[in-house]
Symmetry: C2
Subunit: 434 residues, 2 copies
């Protein structure tokens, strides 16, 4: 790539018309060069890199033996709640009593759909009827959020209402206002620690408000998807708010259901999913589970328990992940700052954990940026993906997932993305001027 075109000193929108035109031309030239380079790069999905997966290859020759510490043969049927040895390790990490934690198969997403199915067909422990018997079911969705959460709601025909994701978590006052009066609002999604895609940490104060707020629906449920609870990008290892404890203290013990998994700790496709909730909700879950399942893969549970040995074993393992991926996040921030800082065409926060960067570009240009990038061989998550139905009302949010490609590809892709952001912004501003 040739030298970047001259960089303005201040906001692009403040440029005189002639300079903006020249800037636009320069970006067109830079973009033409980018296309000519014939890249094939991908920042779409939050997938671990091969080097991260390698960290867990000790699993390949485990377990040693086939019985757990209680003498159960892990190869046979049974044990809906999962292997206690493994649950004990993750109960400590997730801050929940081991009796309230279930270990499942390889996907917490599958557990989320199961919970929704049980609620849909039978209702929960505080429900008056199955959710399918309600005239309408609505979920509160903090945005930007996780696209697969929204896909699940669509699949069930569940309606959505969005609230902003603030710096300390979802806008709890807005949520409290909504749920106080609307009995069709049955639940909400939340990725509490290192949110997807914003990286936001939900504060204990916000969590307490969500746990204690009065709700018109008796069975309002918080889907507390703590997928990144242990995925710190700095040495500060923020503990998640204790949503189960807060809900119990507030007299709403059955409100939250916690999900977690080792998908981004060990193997993305062959890890272990977890569910935690009140004792009654766990019983409700395993009862419905048992109507169509005999037990999870306990061999994989024992494999994981032996691989880690203890909660500290998991913590030490996560440091190795951090060492591999933190430089990629640093590269994204460095390139965004160098190329876009101060130009008033993009905003982002540097995440301190999780798997994503949430980039807000100039209103009305996100779809254009993604299109330009795609045509230049850089795959980005579709614009709007972080919103229900894929509709970002301001068309400004782009989710960047830098973990999977090698560091040099992350940098090259981000150079390209910033060129696309600048070109789209120049187009937009010229259009507004003209």
């Amino acid at each position: 790539m040739s030298e970047s075109p001259a960089r303005p000193d201040g906001p692009l929108s403040a440029l005189p018309a002639a300079e903006l035109t020249a800037f636009h031309r320069a970006q067109e030239a830079a973009y033409a060069e980018l296309r000519a380079a014939g890249l094939k790069l991908d920042l779409t999905r939050g997938k671990p890199a091969a080097a991260q997966l390698d960290l867990s290859d000790g699993l390949l020759t485990l377990p040693r033996g086939t019985t757990d510490s209680g003498g159960t043969d892990v190869r046979n049927y049974g044990g809906l709640e999962g292997l206690r040895d493994l649950r004990a390790i993750f109960a400590e990490l997730l801050g929940t009593p081991v009796e309230q934690l279930v270990a499942g198969d390889n996907s917490s997403l599958v557990m989320m759909r199961s919970v929704l199915s049980y609620l849909w067909l039978h209702g929960g422990v505080t429900s008056e009827r199955p959710w399918s018997a309600e005239e309408k079911v609505t979920f509160v969705c903090p945005v930007p959020g996780y696209d697969r959460h929204f896909t699940l709601l669509d699949w069930f025909g569940i309606d959505t209402v969005t609230v902003p994701m603030n710096d300390d978590g979802p806008d709890a006052e807005a949520i409290a206002e909504l749920v106080a009066h609307d009995p069709t609002i049955k639940g909400m999604w939340l990725v509490p620690t290192y949110a997807n895609p914003t990286g936001t940490i939900t504060s204990p104060a916000v969590a307490e408000r969500l746990a204690s707020m009065p709700t018109a629906a008796p069975d309002f449920t918080i889907f507390w998807d703590n997928a990144y609870a242990l995925h710190h990008l700095t040495e500060e290892e923020t503990a998640s708010a204790d949503i189960l404890g807060l809900a119990e203290a507030a007299g709403n013990p059955h409100r939250p259901i916690v999900f977690a998994s080792t998908s981004k700790i060990t193997y993305a496709g062959a890890g272990v999913g977890f569910l935690a909730a009140s004792t009654d909700v766990v019983k409700w879950y395993t009862t419905h589970l048992g109507k169509g399942a005999i037990g999870p893969d306990k061999v994989n549970h024992l494999r994981h328990a032996q691989f880690f040995g203890s909660a500290d074993g998991v913590r030490a393992h996560m440091v190795k992940h951090r060492e591999l991926i933190a430089p990629k996040f640093d590269a994204v921030d460095r390139i965004l700052t160098e190329r876009l800082g101060g130009l008033g065409v993009a905003e982002w926060k540097v995440p301190v954990g999780g798997y994503f960067f949430s980039l807000d570009v100039l209103d009305g240009t996100a779809a254009r940026v993604v299109q330009l990038a795609r045509e230049a061989g850089i795959a980005l998550t579709p614009a709007g993906a972080s919103f229900p139905k894929g509709l970002d009302p301001r068309d400004r949010n782009i989710r960047l997932a830098p973990t999977f490609p090698p560091p040099e590809e992350v940098a090259r892709a981000m150079e390209g993305v910033t060129t696309c952001v600048l070109l789209a912004a120049a187009e937009k501003l010229l259009d507004a001027n003209g």
Copy 2:
């Protein structure tokens, strides 16, 4: 146990009253002795024995490497249809094109519930509407059948209508008559090869009739649960009827959905489930699956593919299972014959495959036999379990599962069971006389 009481020469019902009274007293004494022995034996569930699980312990140090033959990293996300290397092996065994076979997680039962969920909420490829939007949904259930199938129907609120299981499979004429006129009949269960619990093999002629019969419901679906397809108890390895091919030839390609698993081939809790169907139905399945799942445990798929190497590898493995469990089935038959043969108080067929003995005792005594056995420390599947809602209209069927206990325990348990059968029969006949 002391010597058995004198054994009548012919049917118990033909005994003169005094002899029947003496026989009853002798059985009471035998039963008292049985209780005094303080047994703790279990013939309830179709679980592999530890020695069978040992056959697959090669899995514990597999896979070698982490990529499949196509170069896919099995550790990461993706691949809803499962690993092709493994699907190729089981496609050959199940007689289906590999493109029409999906490999899932550790349970075909879970796949059955998923299929029912998709049908319930969205309808299938030949449905006019979701099944939940029908006024009523009914399933045909050949009886005796598999209790977990009936539990699933209960969970969805699906009604049942029973048909007899004949020697060549379910009563196809009775089914054809039912489905021709009743559009609420949306599906049927069938364990086609070595049925649970009768061991019946569904003949190609019966399968053809089921595949081709006209149905009032356009989306009538055969849940072809081929759990024991490869579980031969003799050297004759009966091939299952080719239901997919028959249905396609009959112009009803989307009617059957085939399920299978390695739960009783490798590890009961850590095997691989399979689903096969028409290309359209497979696409329908993976599309709905993908709304709430990212992919199955492909590491376990690769582990299994390497462990077996080929379809012949699976066949050779199944011979080892047979060598372990056939003697247990022989013991059950031997003891039943010795102690009950010719007395007119029990009927059974010797299964040539599968996991169960289906024992029909004197009408109205099954529940009593199970109770007597339980009080003597021998756990049997509850009487009626092989019927929808657990209701056996003749109260005569008992499912015996001899695979799990060691051979000497199977024999001891069966000695006890036959004592209970004789005592219950004597009670019944005395009662009828008096």
